[in-house]
């Protein structure tokens, strides 16, 4: 059915639009935007007081299927995504088996189509089995439909192989998404290395672990002239390296997660494993640096690093719990609370970080409201106050430290390819 969205504040940073208008979606595509549109035979959605933006894109999601369907499936992840306002999600390849073969890519795409809620874009592994030894068959992966390459969860530790990956992937115009971690430095570490790790007696992961690899990877991007995207920036030092690299003209982009700009290692005082993430939550100074970098453009995108884990896996001693927290359903609320409400970003800049820029980095034909483009829209209620509740999660996993947190701003409706896939 065609959709007529009436009276919403339409924000489309790509076209520098920010005004109250009507928007018509016909046959799944945006057909018209104007002050007032009259149209028959369509569902009319009253968006007065709401914000209408290009559908949000999460360029860093873990869907766990294949391999850990008890934690998340492509269907449950899609449901979580649309509830969080996302119309597109990029599935990281650290599944079991890893996304290093055409067959796995096809499985993900076919499951996503069956789910029929969001656009799911698989990310292929850089190396076979994500082991960092041999390049995966990148050409085949590209043909099968991957939009980027990453060994996420693992760095490609061998610099020579990383160089080759950057050179080789350039032929296919696929960006490499780098998980920057020097595993020699972080081995056994659980939280940020600093005052809190000292007090708690938990082994720390120094910022250097990340910064060392960020520095290497931007150097390799310079050497090869290839595109690199740095995942989940957590430290002020990494921000400084990326800022300088951008000044030097290196083709680097970067993302930050809502938890890295909302939480610090102080939150770990009770040993709650829901705060155990990799890279770890850093200090207040790091949070300030990340926010500043989002404002000044050093960090291009906000990505969730949605990492569902079962309660059984998380409800153990801190040492034994896996890293990661769910993120799809809280990302928008946290971004509004921490960035828009605190005047770090305007809503338009936020949409750049959560839709336009991810689309640009991944070369997706998304993130903008051009007539003729896919009808992917998120309608946001900026003023809606809500509390994160465990029972409301659509994700199969509930490992969120934000349960009980009061947020302001939520997705009121998510529309993907002209179809209402979620409404509150």
């Amino acid at each position: 059915m065609n959709l007529l969205i009436k009276g919403g504040r339409v924000i489309d940073p790509a076209n520098k639009i920010d005004k109250v208008m009507d928007l018509l979606i016909e046959k799944g595509k945006i057909s018209r935007m104007a002050g007032s549109i009259r149209s028959e035979n369509c569902r009319v959605i009253d968006a007065a007081g709401l914000i209408v933006v290009p559908g949000l894109i999460d360029m860093h999601t873990h869907l766990r299927e294949p391999g850990r369907e008890d934690e998340e499936t492509i269907l449950s992840g899609s449901e979580a995504a649309v509830k969080g306002g996302f119309t597109s999600i990029c599935a990281m390849p650290n599944t079991s088996p890893a996304v290093d073969k055409e067959a796995v890519v096809k499985l993900i795409l076919s499951k996503a189509e069956q789910a029929g809620l969001v656009n799911v874009y698989p990310i292929g592994a850089i190396t076979k089995g994500r082991e960092g030894r041999e390049l995966a068959e990148i050409g085949e992966l590209k043909r099968a439909g991957v939009v980027a390459l990453s060994d996420d969860g693992n760095p490609v530790e061998n610099s020579r192989i990383m160089r080759r990956a950057l050179e080789y992937s350039r032929m296919f115009d696929l960006p490499i998404i780098a998980h920057c971690e020097d595993k020699n430095f972080s081995a056994g570490g659980m939280i940020n290395e600093g005052r809190i790790s000292t007090v708690l007696g938990l082994k720390g992961i120094p910022c250097f672990s990340e910064e060392n690899m960020v520095a290497r990877d931007v150097s390799l991007a310079k050497l090869t002239g290839s595109r690199i995207h740095i995942a989940h920036i957590s430290s002020a030092g990494s921000v400084r390296i990326i800022k300088q690299a951008k000044k030097d003209g290196i083709n680097v982009t970067a993302e930050a997660t809502p938890h890295h700009f909302s939480l610090s290692d102080e939150n770990l005082r009770l040993f709650d494993t829901n705060y155990k993430v990799n890279p770890p939550l850093r200090t207040g100074q790091d949070i300030d640096a990340i926010k500043k970098a989002l404002a000044d453009g050093t960090i291009d995108a906000i990505a969730t690093d949605h990492a569902p884990h079962s309660e059984e896996e998380k409800d153990v001693e801190f040492d034994y719990a896996p890293f990661g927290m769910t993120g799809l359903e809280t990302a928008l609320g946290l971004a509004i609370k921490e960035l828009v409400e605190k005047r770090i970003l305007t809503v338009s800049r936020l949409v750049e970080k959560m839709s336009l820029n991810p689309a640009r980095i991944l070369r997706l034909d998304k993130g903008r409201l051009d007539p003729g483009s896919d009808g992917d829209l998120t309608i946001i209620d900026l003023n809606k106050e809500w509390t994160v509740k465990k029972e409301d999660f659509k994700s199969k996993s509930k490992n969120s430290p934000f349960i009980g947190e009061k947020l302001k701003g939520i997705a009121a409706m998510t529309i993907c390819r002209g179809k209402v896939v979620y409404e509150k």
């Binding site: 790790s197 007090v199 007696g201 409800d315 040492d319």
Partner: protein
């Protein structure tokens, strides 16, 4: 008079100076019991205490069990080799099963920091942390405070040097919190590789020269050095460690006659401490063991609350 209102004893970080003093004062009245011919009072008769040790320990466990027995409590001990954890059961499940047996206090030792905290949240029984990873070992901290106070008649203003592997030491952390709260000055000393980051923010001074660290110290608390740290590359050899950080007569040549030498045990004789110092005039190492019993009796008694003791 301060009252003890806590369900658990997880660390000294969260205790107020008044609560710490309450434990020490209570321990004083319990110490005498161990000198009697019949070393038993009925204070905790009918109460049940479980020790849940996931890490080997002889003295701490024996000390807790004896403390419980001297207060007439029933005890049950579960060690990692006999617990169902080895069969894949979670810590919480183990704890809940113990609790289902209506146990009043669980004493836990675990190699993971935060394990006691996790257990305390999961059960309604009282939980005593008998050492969790590199985090805290509160009863060791309390018995060290007790010993210092007993010998020196005060803690405020004393200069205490803690020497050795600070990075991995739960004893160091509990000592730092307790001593700071009661007004001591603390200097810590050990290899830079075994010094945790930003430790100064806990209110201590860091010195890498052993002689400077022990100069004018009223108390030297020597930590056990684990041989496997050498294999992990924290220092070149035990020989070098001993030369740089070992406490021996030469290091103590300018010591005042009131100096106290402490060690939480077990001792590596000839590594972190020389045998003549361990057994020498300044050593209160065995007093620590004796006092540990009194302190643990006090802690058990305070956690179990209202019963009046007939001494």
């Amino acid at each position: 008079m301060v009252k003890w209102n806590r369900k658990d004893l997880l660390g000294l970080e969260g205790l107020s100076p008044a609560e710490i003093k309450l434990v020490l004062d209570t321990a004083e009245s319990f110490k005498e019991i161990s000198t009697r011919q019949i070393k038993k009072v009925p204070a905790l008769r009918g109460r049940t205490i479980a020790t849940l040790f996931f890490e080997p320990s002889t003295r701490t466990r024996a000390s807790f069990e004896l403390a419980a027995k001297r207060l007439s409590a029933d005890t049950v001990s579960i060690s990692s080799s006999t617990s169902s954890v080895v069969k894949g059961e979670t810590l919480k499940d183990t704890a809940r099963n113990i609790e289902a047996m209506k146990i009043d206090i669980i004493i836990i030792r675990h190699k993971c920091a935060g394990a006691a905290e996790m257990l305390a949240r999961a059960v309604s029984s009282g939980v005593i942390n008998a050492g969790d990873g590199s985090h805290e070992h509160p009863t060791q901290g309390l018995l060290d405070l007790f010993t210092i106070r007993e010998k020196k008649k005060k803690i405020k203003g004393l200069k205490v040097a803690i020497i050795g592997d600070i990075l991995h030491s739960r004893v160091a952390r509990s000592n730092i919190w307790g001593l700071k709260k009661l007004g001591a000055e603390i200097v810590i000393c050990g290899p830079a590789t075994l010094m945790p980051p930003e430790i100064e923010k806990m209110g201590v001074r860091v010195v890498y020269d052993l002689r400077k660290a022990v100069k004018q110290a009223d108390v030297i608390n020597v930590l056990r050095i684990q041989k496997e740290r050498q294999d992990a590359g924290f220092f070149p050899s035990l020989r070098e460690y001993s030369r740089e950080f070992g406490i021996n007569k030469e290091v103590l040549k300018d010591a005042g006659k009131d100096l106290l030498i402490m060690h939480p045990g077990p001792i590596n004789r000839g590594v972190e401490i020389s045998p003549d110092v361990a057994d020498g005039q300044y050593s209160v190492i065995l007093d620590q063991v004796t006092n540990g019993l009194a302190v643990r009796m006090a802690v058990l008694y305070l956690l179990l609350g209202e019963t009046k003791v007939k001494l």
